[in-house]
Symmetry: C2
Subunit: 324 residues, 2 copies
């Protein structure tokens, strides 16, 4: 009998990463109020969350500061204005997107920043650049993780090459990312095996970042914990691009480590997330995301369908099955 | 490596049961229009669904016919008015609820009814009555299944006794029922092992009926298929009591048997289910159901919270954690 997660106990090495502002920011162009950001920070501290991802550090020569909220850029001064000295157990993270971050200029010494962790997001074909950002960030003193995106559309042999390269790099954690929400738990388990082999060989940790296109983000995260994956991404009320992510409230309801606390999470959802949704910010599982998930496609067509407030799911079906 | 569901293939013995009208009827007191019922019937035929559960056969001396739609009672004449001779591959089912069905009077010979299958729903302490209904229904010529409800709150030894008794009865299928939506996939797998042992000994089939309190209804159904469970309950747009059930559209998107067809399901959802929801019928995953699910409680408090349109989830949390 598979006893995957030892439900009555817990693993000390498990870390929960709140990605609400970063993945959720993709839904509202990062227009979160300072009050929202500060309240979320304080909630994460109370809830025992291990890491909080604040947003991207996007290249300002590529992206217009007037068209996005502050967390698209995560200036160190702005972060400091929210977290002060961050004299807490909560560590802070930002994401560096390959090709969209001027890392040599914008990722400064860790001692000059409130940030603890750089999360590098890359496609497989960008690995050489990703390795450069990893090297740079590690040299500047940060913890570093790497998300290889869209792996459900890559060849396993190519993935293994990339994992070997990451194994030899100074990256601390390598993430399994189900970008399209297309993976079933057993496929996740197979991938976890591949990643965990590399982790054992090179003394790395493995993480999971799931999407909810098939309502499997939480289930896949549970599967991953049982398989030995330690770093778990979640977002409040599952806020995130398209179908959203693994919900923080589901995850903390599941984990047994007494350091985690569900109550402040519910309070934040009641006071901030539900109002955000009621004010018209749209995300979460719906039929259009299910279809791109089943078809293992990027959800961009489903996101457009959502934005246009279309209701003709059968027409959408015919459109997406024709996208070969 | 666990290769639970052989994703590239399928098992001929898998059966899909549409429980939309029966479990969904708990949400709207079975007030479905005849047009809706007929369109759903025709959709199930086109989609390749194996069984369609139409509703309950409730005792009219206990329940007022003026206070419920027709599918609370599923009179044979009414069913005939919808399905005619039912000259299709879709079989029809009704549920007999122990203590709420006058089965000796109301379950007549199969040859005089359009119904093929009697689904018996019972709590563990009602097993002697359930066995009597099973015996009666089998003698009248029906296929018979049995749902033992609320097993997440029973002792395993008691459950094993009940399963042995069912094994010796003429029941065809025994259902694993996650009434409270409290089970994680690995717990489901453990239960499936217990049920499948009995199935092997007595030549029965095993089914799964899941609830979505923790967004795991589909994931638990996928787990169950992989474990060898053959009968899978689902409902359109996950319509069902409280958090709802495993969604038909998720399930048919997952199963690989070419007899199943997702397109008519989407069409029915677009034309009938979405309008039903927009007209104010409420069901589906939400925070209150998550909490009763985590706590392994009956969702009645969460259903009341929903009906009262409460938004104070933190107050609700304090109420339900106090319910010992």
């Amino acid at each position: 009998m598979k006893e995957i997660s030892k439900l009555m106990g817990y693993r000390e090495s498990v870390k929960v990463v709140d990605a609400t502002l970063r993945d959720g920011g993709l839904v509202n162009d990062f227009y979160f109020t300072d009050e929202f950001v500060k309240a979320l920070y304080e909630t994460n501290v109370k809830a025992g969350v291990d890491y909080m991802e604040l947003g991207y550090r996007a290249d300002k020569t590529m992206f217009d500061e007037d068209k996005f909220g502050k967390l698209k850029f995560c200036d160190d001064d702005y972060i400091r204005s929210i977290v002060g000295e961050n004299d807490t157990d909560l560590k802070l993270a930002i994401m560096a997107d390959i090709g969209r971050c001027d890392y040599k200029k914008d990722i400064v010494n860790r001692s000059d920043s409130a940030i603890d962790l750089i999360r590098v997001a890359t496609y497989l074909h960008q690995m050489p650049s990703a390795l450069d950002v990893i090297e740079h960030s590690a040299n500047k003193g940060y913890e570093v993780t790497c998300n290889i995106m869209a792996i459900s559309n890559t060849q396993e042999k190519d993935l293994r090459v990339a994992l070997e390269e990451l194994g030899k790099s100074p990256v601390d954690v390598i993430y399994i990312v189900d970008s399209f929400g297309s993976l079933y738990p057993e496929q996740l388990a197979r991938l976890a095996d591949i990643y965990l082999d590399v982790a054992a060989k090179y003394n790395k940790k493995i993480g999971i970042h799931a999407h909810d296109n098939q309502k499997l983000a939480f289930a896949n995260t549970v599967e991953a914990v049982g398989d030995g994956v330690d770093w778990l991404d979640a977002t409040y009320l599952a806020m995130g691009r398209g179908a959203g992510n693994c919900a923080m409230e589901l995850l903390l309801g599941f984990l047994r480590n007494p350091k985690y606390n569900l109550y402040p999470v519910l309070k934040f959802i009641e006071n901030y997330m539900v109002p955000l949704k009621e004010q018209g910010t749209v995300w979460g599982y719906d039929l259009q995301y299910l279809l791109t998930g089943i078809l293992n496609q990027h959800p961009r067509t489903a996101i457009a369908y959502t934005k246009e407030e279309r209701k003709d799911i059968t027409e959408f079906y015919k459109e997406v099955v024709a996208q070969d």
